[in-house]
């Protein structure tokens, strides 16, 4: 297994705020029924050239991992927001653990995970 030792592993927002490194994490949910768990980005690992975003899925729910490079989108939920799908995990009858790689940029990048239903 690839060890993240030597690199910063981000586990929560407090680490994100303290770190100089760029990617940030935002967890968000839309239209989630009361019985369903909140979608959650489990972990973000930093590597020299990319990052690895981990999340677990529940059966029979579709997940969209999205990102934006614009901090205004964190509070702007109108049609002007520029969230982009990084990965869509289709609804499956089994729980899954996804590891999604994204290249590192020299800008801020925020991620959110959306689940339906």
């Amino acid at each position: 297994m690839r060890s993240p030792s030597g690199f910063q592993r981000l586990r929560d927002l407090s680490v994100l705020k303290a770190g100089w490194i760029l990617p940030a994490l935002l967890v968000a949910a839309w239209n989630v029924p009361a019985f369903a768990a909140q979608p959650k980005i489990d972990q973000i690992e930093l590597y020299p050239r990319d990052i690895a975003i981990h999340f677990y899925t529940e059966p029979n729910r579709k997940y969209e991992l999205q990102y934006t490079d614009h901090p205004n989108d964190l509070t702007n939920h109108t049609s002007n927001s520029t969230w982009t799908n990084l990965y869509v995990a289709d609804s499956l009858p089994i729980p899954m653990h996804y590891v999604i790689n994204d290249s590192r940029t020299n800008k801020n990048r925020f991620y959110r995970l959306k689940a339906t239903p």
């Binding site: 297994m1 990965y87 009858p93 996804y98 590891v99 790689n101």
Partner: protein, 338 residues
């Protein structure tokens, strides 16, 4: 997944005389199958299995674009019987698979890509050499009883590219996980038809062990077959789970004449496959147990030609994880005694 064709096992059974006229016919059938004489035999058998039902831990699930697999295995089996008691068979399987599977492909540095593969493939499978020893036989006019032992080796002659690919995906996914993260070795896969389900070869030398017990009273018979496949580690640290098959049931001769015979049997099959092991880890996405029941017909024509045909309908299936399981199996075989 290579198994001995039913015909190879059936050829180790002897269905023995009943009475006067029937005696000739059944003895003739026995000789036609090559069970009671030395010499050379050649068998061609075919088993078609439809895997279009998807079960998740034993419960049927419906998917929008489901995986499916139709498997057709043709066995070419030359056999030489040194005597009534000893014989050896070479099983050469030709595997034809028609399938559709959708799975994720992981790579370093980019998100996984969902790919759907549809196709058909024909390949040589794993060749097996199997010996037969008639341990005990008792033949009387009104009844008969016999026990045969089978033993052999399956050789890694089939292609294993798909297993290599599956293991490489496991390696990539594991490399993306933090050390110590609990996971199944197939947790990277969303497919219900996995690469190892399509592989014609295992890459392993496997042991084959069998026992056949047959009995007859007048026109009626009852037989049972036990087969055990001891798998060893094969290609790229992949090991198929061991498999146990028990089959058999009652039957009787429906037609008896000097020109040929026809018998019918109610055949029950218990088939259980242990979970596979990948890179030293047991996968909970593999392994299943199936109970089948179906009719089997056997016939002989003249002194040299015989055959059989049967259908296996699954009555009960339990499985681990998400897998395609059999809807039904059809098998036919013909045998020529030289």
């Amino acid at each position: 997944m290579i198994r001995l064709p039913a015909f190879v096992v059936a050829s180790c059974l002897s269905i023995l005389p009943v009475a006067a006229c029937d005696l000739c016919a059944i003895y003739s059938a026995d000789n036609t199958r090559g069970q009671s004489s030395s010499g050379f035999l050649f068998t061609v058998s075919e088993q078609f299995t439809s895997y279009r039902t998807i079960l998740l831990d034993g419960e049927e699930v419906t998917l929008p674009k489901p995986d499916w697999l139709d498997s057709s295995i043709t066995h070419l089996v030359p056999t030489y019987n040194f005597s009534k008691r000893f014989g050896v068979s070479l099983n050469v399987p030709l595997n034809y698979r028609s399938f559709r599977r959708t799975d994720l492909r992981y790579s370093h540095g980019s998100p996984p890509v969902k790919q759907t593969e549809t196709g058909s493939e024909l390949d040589l499978g794993d060749v097996a050499l199997v010996g037969r020893w008639a341990v005990w036989q008792k033949n009387e006019m009104d009844y008969a009883f016999g026990i045969n032992l089978l033993g052999g080796v399956k050789f890694p002659t089939g292609d294993t590219d798909r297993i290599e690919d599956e293991v490489s995906q496991t390696r990539i996914f594991e490399s993306l996980l933090p050390p110590g993260t609990p996971h199944d070795p197939l947790s990277h896969s969303i497919a219900s038809v996995h690469q190892h389900n399509l592989s014609p070869g295992s890459g392993s030398f496997d042991g084959i062990f069998g026992l056949t017990v047959n009995s007859r009273w007048q026109r009626f018979f009852l037989n049972a077959q036990f087969q055990y496949y001891a798998r060893t580690e094969g290609e790229d640290e992949f090991r198929y789970g061991d498999e146990l098959m028990v089959s058999g049931g009652p039957g009787g001769y429906a037609l008896l004449s000097n020109k040929g015979t026809l018998s019918i049997q109610a055949n029950a099959v218990y088939d259980t496959m242990a979970r596979d092991e990948i890179l030293g880890q047991i996968s909970n996405q593999t392994g299943m147990t199936v109970w089948y029941l179906g009719p089997q017909l056997s016939f002989t024509v003249g002194d040299h030609f015989s055959g059989n045909a049967g259908v296996d309908i699954p009555l009960h299936i339990t499985n681990n994880g998400l897998q395609n399981v059999p809807d039904y199996r059809v098998h036919v075989g013909v045998n020529w005694r030289f």
